[in-house]
Subunit: 372 residues, 2 copies
């Protein structure tokens, strides 16, 4: 993996490019989430057509079902799921802490129960790397502990130190086996800028090809998330991609790009699509609302996605009310297009040195139309 | 609507073409079922890509939700659902008799409760035509009573006579308003070849542009269905399309084409796809079976559909077990392709005057491989 930083806007927004064996990812980039080896409802061709250039898959889910060895037997997740573009896998840590019904964390690793069948599993830093290698992603993530908010400060300190030790073990595990793959480190430290700095110093010392901010959007106020991100991003190496994990809303993406973030992932566009919440350039709409019953207009008349080109709000509402599978797919196409088009627009604005203007216009459109 | 009969094979199989304002339908034709204004999980582009040339939509469902007037306001179902090819709507009669929790039939029409909310509705022959006109299909169906099996013979006689009177009323209703649309009559009469002949005589007297056999596949043995169809088809006018409603399996389609049928519809390929039952040239497979867990081969190695070109049985099983929406779509694409490719092969065989050979080969493949 190689990272090229083409340009930095006066605001701090960065324009770059990640090159992997499976293709190029222009940054800032948003990664659709393909939890179980599929972005729900879409084919890889659909993903390409909405502008996805990299997909995130969840190690935890794929490890438990259908199993990492099975996928390795198919030559890896790319071939198994028929997505031949860049792939990033998370470490499984976040899901162990958010999905598993019980877990017990120790120095060696974390023991947890599967949310599928209650069976017990043991995940170590080395194991997380081995599973991700079996999946064959282009970018792997270190196993970390995602601390909750609020959290006991003494626990946070110990956890952050362990996350550092685990990062080292992940790095050593990969180094011993596969030097072609890129392993990103994850900065933890809760909302403590001091612990975050401590964690960054330790990780940068180890020299990773990319750095992520984890443990954000875990219940803290949005201002605090932005504050922590603003404090952390400038401390990361300029020449490495910066990935803010699990965030966020369109507004978050615009704010964080302005702070110099390069990569994002979030289930928001896809999950909300399935719940009938659709993003537009003028704010959000809830498709099941009766006002859309006979609206002969697209979700967003400024949008040129497949859904907006061919279907009315009335038809989409009908599909949603009738619980038709096609509703999930058409809504997902629109929401992902909205997010990925937003990223394209931001990249264009940074390239032209007018990101601040873009950001002002983005917020203005929202205020004028619905105060969102 | 125009019908051209190009060729009749020595077996009785017919090669033809239906021309509508929205395009041409080569016959014998299989119509995928788009109950609620969508063939579950597929876009119209998907439908084209699997080879669909006409789609059936259900009047009963669309009348109750989102409503015929709403769809009329969008210029009809073609534009509402973004399918610009030929469309056929049924009369709603079959669903009233199979889905409505209560119903009461009289000379004037049928009163029934909606399966959605229990609300009461009254459907008359005139109303069925008006609703179908609002939907704007290319081919409309007369309101009939679909009699059960077995049935009291005296009731069957009276019902068949009423179906004849209703057909006349449907015809008069359409004549008074819209002469461009084609209204097909439905032959009823249960398993009585005498009543069927009586019904055919009455309908042919009225001169419809097409004739359907209804009331089949309602629980009778398959041999009886074939017997009744074999008795009825030759009595229908040679120069009009012959539509056998609600049937059937691949074997049924091959048998009925051999008896001279031109059109079919059935939920079998789409519904079974969603239940994980997939059709192959060598018989059926159940994708959730554990034998498919790590099978690195397509559903059918003789198939060239999108699903078979890109996905393994193992991946499809994984999606199915994980209840991923994409499972329904990929399975539906395959099953519909299988049915529509079967129709194409039959048309090619009839054109070449070798339908008997095709049929023998079709059954031979099944016997050799799994006795299905």
């Amino acid at each position: 993996m190689e990272f090229y930083l083409w340009k930095q806007d006066a605001t701090g927004a960065r324009l770059g490019e990640i090159r992997t064996a499976h293709g190029v990812v222009p940054t800032p980039a948003f990664m659709p989430v393909g939890t179980q080896g599929t972005v729900k409802g879409l084919t890889p061709e659909d993903l390409r057509s909405v502008g996805a250039q990299i997909v995130l898959a969840n190690t935890y889910h794929l490890w438990l079902r259908p199993g990492a060895d099975l996928i390795r037997g198919f030559g890896g997740l790319h071939r198994f799921m028929h997505w031949y573009g860049p792939l990033l896998t998370d470490s499984g840590g976040y899901q162990v802490f958010s999905l598993a019904p019980t877990r017990e964390i120790g120095e060696e690793g974390v023991t947890f129960q599967s949310h599928l069948d209650g069976s017990r599993h043991f995940l170590t830093p080395e194991g997380a790397v081995q599973i991700q290698e079996a999946l064959g992603a282009d970018i792997l993530m270190c196993l970390d502990e995602c601390t909750p908010y609020p959290v006991d400060q003494e626990y946070l300190r110990k956890s952050t130190q362990r996350t550092l030790r685990w990062a080292k073990r992940c790095q050593e595990e990969l180094a011993s086996r596969d030097k072609a793959k890129a392993l990103f480190a994850i900065v933890q430290g809760g909302m403590s800028t001091e612990l975050r700095r401590y964690c960054i110093d330790g990780l940068v010392e180890m020299d990773f090809p990319g750095y992520a901010l984890g443990g954000l959007s875990v219940g803290e106020p949005k201002e605090l998330m932005l504050e922590v991100t603003a404090a952390c991003l400038p401390q990361l190496p300029v020449d490495k991609p910066r990935y803010v994990m699990g965030i966020g809303t369109p507004e978050d993406l615009v704010d964080l790009v302005g702070l110099g973030a390069d990569m994002f992932d979030c289930v928001l566009p896809t999950r909300n699509a399935r719940n009938g919440m659709l993003f537009t350039s003028r704010g959000r709409i809830i498709i099941k609302n009766s006002q859309h019953r006979d609206e002969d207009m697209p979700i967003d008349d400024l949008c040129t996605c497949y859904t907006c080109r061919h279907y009315s709000r009335a038809y989409l509402r009908h599909l949603y009310m009738a619980k038709e599978i096609l509703a999930y797919r058409l809504n997902t196409i629109h929401n992902l297009w909205y997010f990925l088009e937003l990223m394209r627009q931001m990249r264009r604005a940074i390239a032209a040195g007018r990101f601040a203007k873009f950001r002002a216009h983005f917020y203005q459109l929202r205020q004028v139309h619905d105060g969102n």
